[in-house]
Symmetry: C2
Amino acid sequence: MARTVGELGEFGVIARIERIASRSGRAVELGIGDDAAVLKPPPGERLLVSTDAHVEGVHFRWKTTAAVTVGRRALVANLSDLAAMGGRPLGFVLALAAPPGLSLRSLDGVVRGLAAEAERHGCPLVGGNVSRARETSLTITVLGSARPGRILTRRGARQGDRILLTGSLGGPALEVARAARRGGWIRQVPEPRLAAGRLLARTPRVGACIDVSDGLEADLGHLLDAAQGGPLGAELDPEALPTPRGFGPACRRLGLDPLKLAMTGGEDWELLFTVRPAGPRAARLSARLGLPVTEIGRVTARPARRRRGAGGWTHF
Amino acid sequence: MARTVGELGEFGVIARIERIASRSGRAVELGIGDDAAVLKPPPGERLLVSTDAHVEGVHFRWKTTAAVTVGRRALVANLSDLAAMGGRPLGFVLALAAPPGLSLRSLDGVVRGLAAEAERHGCPLVGGNVSRARETSLTITVLGSARPGRILTRRGARQGDRILLTGSLGGPALEVARAARRGGWIRQVPEPRLAAGRLLARTPRVGACIDVSDGLEADLGHLLDAAQGGPLGAELDPEALPTPRGFGPACRRLGLDPLKLAMTGGEDWELLFTVRPAGPRAARLSARLGLPVTEIGRVTARPARRRRGAGGWTHF
């Protein structure tokens, strides 16, 4: 009996993935097994499309992450991009590249992880591709939809907007650092903020939105650079940054700077967004979204140079 | 000045790709630069989606293929999948994985090749992802659309259908074999049969359709296995297989079996389709499609075992 991807061969692997992961979906007219999948998007809605790669040795390590978690996190990362646009998932395609020696146990775990998140968020696997490569990678393209005028983008920030954030920062990066230094497994699978994104897209006076994948500092930079009238600046209150309970002491035990980890760790998959001065406050948004929402700063004119300020505020 | 992808960094590479390849398109409301692209598919049409990977050392070699040709062939392979469904391109996303040492000259070439085919076929680059990896790969997801009821699938073959093929077989495989044995460059960029696929989707009595990517033998097998009532068989007339002028002698000079190369070479990107007995003949289809169309066999009940028959016919 085959024990590796190489022994099973391309079409055997495809059949195996199909058996584990294939599900029907409300929008799927033709799924895995043809030259292209056929979807029926909700009439009148816009189509959203986003692609993301998860490469062994870059985005995950088999030593620290169970295969099922690799699969779950890969799909969550893509769903988070839809969330940041205010979209609803339609389905996804998977391009799997793997060395012939990859065990079928690992393959099955990854596919079960993908299938679990797919089921949870109504985003079925509708097609894909299997290829040989020197390292394992999962390249996922997710499709979603949203009503015109109900789409969040990175472009909508304006000077004076308040900057808000769902959930907390730094937890995933702390777990990665702990696994790298002390061993053990990465178990966290952050929740893609799909419902929150859709609610924000319907909330008046929300400006721009992005998901925190590269870290708050980098992603806030992307959002400020993308502003429609040209790049903007920001002031952040580091004291306000929401982190998980016990985060500071846990960081210090590992010799890590909590603020730095919260600002740059990444893979938080929280929504970072701006709201006009007259828009709803954090407490009201939190009640509406059913999530912690924290105001962490405000949008300013573009400063000459981004730097950490004297008063404790971080200037961008 | 940066000379490699690693020196330029992720966001520098993204900006460079955007500069070379970004184009507006009739369906693109928001392209590169946000968490997801926003497309407006033609009202009432179905969405088609297909993904395909091109991996260095598996699907191409820098030694035998110019970077611009690598890019062109990668997009053509995806467009061919849309063609086989009768679809019209909307746009594509690119997940580029590359080692830090990849030269910017190679990157630019690949992206120019993608941009050239994108322009030619009205299929703009709308988003993507850049990641580090040990080998270069291009994973492309192409989106297209088609009117409901005007979509070709692999499922529609029936016993008694005639089997037809656009263009010719074996030319691309011969060029690859020649480059591998005698050196020189792979220059052919087959034409994705987009217009032909759309015309076939409107032609009464066309059964199933697939594009020839893995080779005639394998892809005919896929089409027969996918038949709606269960797997079917086929008889092919090897004498009828269309090959380019001078193909036989050129194969023999390289010590290759012309029939085997035409049957199994692959990457022909021609359309292989079935037509009911009472449907149009090859000559009429050829006139309609503006392409050579050849009848090469017929669909039979499923044989006990696929084999090459005694009378010269190949049985599937």
